[in-house]
């Protein structure tokens, strides 16, 4: 069954190997995230021109949209990792799934709050129960449910499987969030950015958006690596490689 998985991927799923790999990756990812983040934020706040309708309030888009994309992207990663964890019982998949949840919840929270702060001046209300906002809120509850369920089990591996199952059930919500503006009459505006074909947004507003999208993705990779490393230490506490590490880091 596993003969088609490339050898390096197979090796990577071994905890000590992944620990070393992630330890090398995360500083670069974080550095690049900060760099692209600063560039993107400068472009968003200073360089991009004000919108003719929304003046400078629209600048919230530069953090709201990348965060929203991340909230969905991370959930998809969590779903896939959970699936792998449930079917093949790979420890690393469990770790990736469970450690992605708090990061995803963070981005979903940012999406909801920044959206609310944008909605008040633009729509005149902090909140409305339209399809997109409601389904994004449901997404936050799903993340919190996964985190809660994971921590409710004594056996962490069993907890990861149960929470992973919940994540997979909830994955139906991700397309709902995405397509909600097409399927229903919503207060939230429709899509303006297309992967294939022309986007309806000005170029000098588009580039900071894309740069910040990249920045948030890099940040997610860095954060996931760090969380996964720490989680592996906790999970593999009885193994030699962890013990030597703990002893070594104690030495002043």
């Amino acid at each position: 069954m596993t003969h088609w998985i490339p050898l390096w991927l197979h090796r990577l799923s071994s905890p000590p190997t992944f620990y070393r790999f992630a330890g090398a990756v995360w500083p670069w990812a974080m550095g690049l995230a900060l760099l692209t983040g600063i560039i993107g934020l400068y472009g968003a706040l200073v360089l991009a021109p004000p919108d003719y309708q929304q003046s400078d309030a629209y600048r919230i888009i530069f953090i709201h949209v990348p965060s929203a994309w991340m909230s969905m992207f991370i959930y998809a990663v969590m779903g896939v990792a959970s699936f792998v964890a449930l079917v093949w019982r790979i420890k690393l998949a469990e770790v990736v799934a469970m450690q992605s949840a708090p990061i995803g919840a963070a981005f979903t929270f940012i999406t909801l709050v920044t959206g609310s702060l944008w909605g008040k001046p633009m729509w005149g209300t902090w909140w409305t129960w339209d399809a997109r906002l409601t389904s994004e809120l449901v997404l936050l509850f799903l993340y919190l449910g996964v985190i809660g369920l994971y921590h409710a089990f004594e056996d962490r591996r069993q907890g990861a499987r149960a929470a992973g199952f919940l994540a997979i059930i909830g994955i139906i919500n991700v397309p709902i969030v995405h397509f909600s503006v097409n399927w229903w009459n919503t207060l939230h505006q429709g899509s303006t950015i297309n992967v294939f074909g022309a986007s309806k947004i000005a170029a000098d507003m588009l580039w900071p958006l894309l740069v910040l999208t990249l920045a948030t993705k890099l940040y997610y990779i860095a954060s996931l690596c760090r969380r996964a490393r720490t989680d592996l230490l906790a999970l593999e506490g009885s193994k030699d490689w962890v013990r030597t590490l703990a002893a070594r880091e104690a030495a002043p």
Binding site: M30, L41, L45, V46, L47, A48, P49, P50, S55, D56, A57, R59, I60, I63, H64, S67, P102, I103, A106, F109, I110, V113, T114, L117, W118, K120, P121, Y219, A222, S223, R226, R227, R229, T230, L233, A234, G237, V242, R243, L245, A246, A247, E249, A250
Partner: protein
């Protein structure tokens, strides 16, 4: 330039009360998220070291009281064959 000065920039076209808190939340949440693994890592390693210390202590005690493994100071010397 889109803004005529720092004051203009901070005012954000009158929407400062919405734009700046939004950016602040973004940064604050991500900073909190980046600190969390550091805190947890320190906790995990501290707990592990404590556990190792306890186990080492237990081993040392066991090593001293297993009969035959180390002679009691007042026991007679072992008979030679």
């Amino acid at each position: 330039m889109n803004f005529t000065g720092l004051h203009d920039f901070l005012a954000m076209g009158g929407y400062a009360a919405y734009v700046w808190p939004a950016y602040a939340v973004f940064l604050a949440v991500l900073i909190a998220d980046s600190l969390a693994p550091t805190v947890r890592r320190r906790q995990v390693l501290r707990d592990l070291r404590a556990q190792l210390a306890r186990q080492a202590a237990r081993h040392a005690r066991k090593g001293a009281t297993i009969p035959g493994s180390a002679p009691h100071p007042s026991a007679p010397p072992p008979r030679s064959a």
